[in-house]
């Protein structure tokens, strides 16, 4: 039986962490690409519980916990410098990252603080060499609209990603420093989601807005979703690491049910951090920690955000992917599936550039399907399409060309494969010729069928069947009219 979530007093909030696709890290000039394969060396550190830094966490407990723990940090040549090693103060904030974060905040209808203060948020699990994460509130009081109503965006924060955990032993934890410092936006909604489907819609919408910027990282580990769920009489559960958006309604439903069961039995619901499992269930991870201590990062001066700056970013806000999709479907007469693939592949611009030169459907196919199969860089594909131009290429020939291109054959050689192709004019001539030579055919019941066979014999695979048929039909029309 479906639950009545309103009656349950269900409250849910979504928190999304998304890496930004900048060249450099947030506070240094290290590459943010995560391309280094092997670490070059390792350093060993300890963290100390510092007076007054633990927020609600018991300082004595933290002290005991850290006393015997060693953190090993792997250093990567292009992706680690003295800043990640906590051996150098942070450099000024990466302006590219800040602009993207501001753009996202504006797209989520947020207010932008007039002065942004970078904060230090205490982290003592070793995932940051400094013992804190640098984070700044860049947007607040925003909203997204859903089919169920408006949901508030409480915060858009620009922060540094944590180091990646590589190995965990009883007394030591090993981290890779290549991920530490990659710019990240954290987006939190108000607990104003009251239906499981709405939670999914919010997450999807925020995800769509993030991707619309074209400046967020894609792939495994670049976006992380958490859910906060409670019911009346229950307690807030933070569910970490939701892998698939399609799972969200199920997770919300099961968590609401779990809390309801406990409430019904008269048991206390504790504030837990739980882990999302692949089937939509969750498992207990740890009790909810107190809020981390947060204090100013004095190594980075506050950042003034002028009205002009906001105006300038507002003026250049990107088109939403949903709008783009509609536009592409209409302008190029594509169905939603293909158009959707182009838009979500992030190759919309390339597609639009090429669609003016060559046949849109072919390009759509190549960009979404073949490019993955053949692993050909966009630049080469573009070069090839420009060389082919308007000429139509049958599927088999196109595949031959892509195959050659993927084997690093030079573009001019590849184009020769298509060069043997007949132009529309050539095909027209052949069709006319065949009709002239076979006047009987025209008397048959369906002349196009017989003509097709005869013409294709002449063409010998040098033109796509669809083109041949199109020309035959045209010719038949003119000869009958």
């Amino acid at each position: 039986m479906a639950l009545d979530y309103k009656k349950l007093g269900m409250k849910c909030g979504v928190e999304i962490h998304q890496q930004l696709a900048t060249r450099h890290k947030l506070f240094c000039k290290c590459s943010a690409a995560m391309q280094d394969k092997e670490p070059v060396f390792e350093i060993r550190r300890k963290l100390r519980a510092v007076a007054g830094e633990m927020g609600d966490v018991d300082a004595a407990a933290a002290y005991e916990m850290l006393k015997n723990k060693v953190f090993r940090y792997k250093v990567y040549l292009n992706e680690t410098c003295a800043v990640e090693l906590d051996e150098e103060p942070p450099h000024p904030v990466n302006r590219e990252a800040l602009d993207i974060a501001l753009q996202i905040a504006l797209m989520l209808n947020c207010e932008i603080p007039e002065e942004i203060e970078v904060m230090r948020k205490t982290v003592i699990d070793g995932s940051n060499t400094s013992g804190f994460q640098r984070t700044a509130l860049v947007g607040l009081n925003g909203w997204v609209d859903t089919g169920f109503g408006r949901v508030g965006i409480t915060n858009v924060c620009l922060e540094e990603d944590a180091a990646q955990i590589l190995d965990k032993k009883k007394k030591s934890v090993t981290y890779g420093l290549n991920r530490l410092g990659i710019p990240l936006v954290e987006i939190g909604t108000a607990p104003e989601i009251h239906e499981p489907e709405q939670a999914k819609e919010v997450a999807e919408k925020i995800g769509m807005i993030l991707r619309s910027t074209g400046k967020v990282r894609r792939g495994i580990g670049t976006i992380r979703q958490d859910l906060n769920i409670s019911i009346a009489g229950g307690a807030r559960a933070e569910i970490k690491g939701v892998q698939k958006l399609s799972l969200i309604p199920r997770i919300v439903e099961l968590e609401a049910k779990r809390q309801l069961e406990l409430v019904k039995k008269g048991r206390k619901v504790t504030r837990d951090v739980r882990k999302a499992l692949p089937d939509g269930r969750t498992s207990f991870l740890r009790p909810m920690p107190g809020s981390a201590r947060m204090y100013p990062e004095t190594d980075i001066p506050p950042i003034q955000i002028t009205e002009e700056k906001i105006k300038q970013i507002r003026k250049n806000l990107p088109e939403l992917l949903t709008e783009k999709l509609e536009k592409i479907m209409k302008s190029y007469n594509l169905n939603e599936e293909i158009a959707g693939q182009i838009v979500s592949s992030g190759k919309t611009e390339l597609f639009e550039r090429l669609a003016g030169i060559s046949e849109p459907k072919t390009i759509a196919n190549v960009l979404t399907r073949y490019s993955k199969e053949y692993k050909i860089p966009d630049k080469k594909l573009e070069e090839m399409f420009r060389a082919i131009g308007k000429k139509q290429v049958p599927k088999e020939t196109l595949e031959k060309m892509l195959d050659a291109l993927s084997k690093n054959r030079p573009v001019q050689d590849v184009v020769k494969i298509a060069g043997d192709m007949l132009s529309e004019e050539d095909v027209k001539r052949i069709v006319k010729d065949v009709i002239k030579k076979n006047p009987d055919v025209m008397k048959a019941g369906r002349p196009e069928k017989a003509l097709m066979g005869l013409v294709m014999k002449e063409v010998g695979g040098r033109a796509p069947g669809s083109l041949v048929m199109k020309i035959i039909m045209k010719e038949l029309k003119t000869s009958f009219s």
Partner: protein, 453 residues
Amino acid sequence: MYSKKIQALLKKKKIRIGDRVLVKKIGKETEGILMPQTDAGDPETLVIKLDSGYNIGIKFRNAGIEKSGTRQSKAGKEEAEYEMGKTRKEILKLKFDAKKPAISMVSVGGTIASRIDYRTGGVHALEDPREFLHNTPELADIVNIKRFVSPFTKMSEDMEPDDWIKTAKHVAKELNSGMKGVIVTHGTDTLHYTSAALGFFLRNLTKPVVLVGAQRSSDRGSSDAGMNLICAAHAVVSDIAEVGICMHGRMDDDYCLFIRGTHARKMDTQRRDAFRPINEYPLAKIWPDGRIKIKNRDYRKRDDKGRVELDAKFEKKIAMLKVYPGADPDIISYYISKGYRGFVIEATGLGHVPTQARKSWTEVIKRHSKDIPFVMTPQTIYGRINPSVYTNLRILYRESGAIPGGDMLSETAYVKLGWVLGHTKDMEKIREMMLTNYAGEITQRTLVGTFLY
């Protein structure tokens, strides 16, 4: 700091920093704790700590501010108070163990003994040894910091010779009051000048004097302050009766180096392991668990007997110069015209200055060396001055009267020259004293393994 205008308004409205306030501005209301503005921020922008913990800035123009009716959470209030430099009550309940060796701490400032004070945007000095104990409880297992003296606190770069003298006086007094040793907390930039000065000023030393600093502020879990202090505590109860610097040996939180004060140099602007021994091995490696590995047997052993003697006579009219291609020796004449009485010159290579060049430093030195000492030190940092391998060296040292500084660090030679001139104006005596080893500042043998140690 806020502008005078904002400060006046806050005063009029009886709003203090740390109060919960409501800031109204064109249709927007922001509620939170009014925080101080740091010196790097805009004085016309209010900084508000939101309930989420984040601070944001609101331009004061066209804004109104009033005390908020809602109550601040206890945790939030404590948070804000701590951020503003208030020592927590529970810290003052901590105690040292009276059975542990009694030592003194002389604090003259530095990152290691401070916290950021947001009221001034500057630093707030720790004023109680219990504050160190709170950050570093391990200290209680090693020492009993019985006395805590802070004659002054200064940024390292603001230190002057008078400050070395004051520091030495207090250290001597503490040593002579029966303590097992003294830990000096100090900023790092000029820590090695102070350590050299204490080396010369404290005669008949029979107990350790350990200078310690930190490269990362102690507000962070990764601060080097804790481990440096723990190792310094082990050093101060050890049998190494020397003045030395005890700080991180590597980037790892593994061990500290205890480096003789006259042979230490800050070799990096920011790293934890910035202090390195130059031209000699460190006295010891010290691990936070108390293990000590002697690396250099050339040290005085503790015997705890006798009184340390303060000998801090110092001539301040001395200067340190560096030669380089194109350097004009006229600068020497300028200094002399201003009453300077001695020079340390950082020479190139084996101890050269421009000699047969168009502008000859050697000639200027020769002109003045009957009354004014010129001590040559290596600008290569590593290695030793050699007065005789090349013709130009022979001209400089044999004919022109320059004093070869051996393998003394320039900084150490500078401190030593001031100390020597504080004792004598006799040129022969000056030369003799500069070449005599008083505080381990000159080594007899160049051990090759000490290079880039």
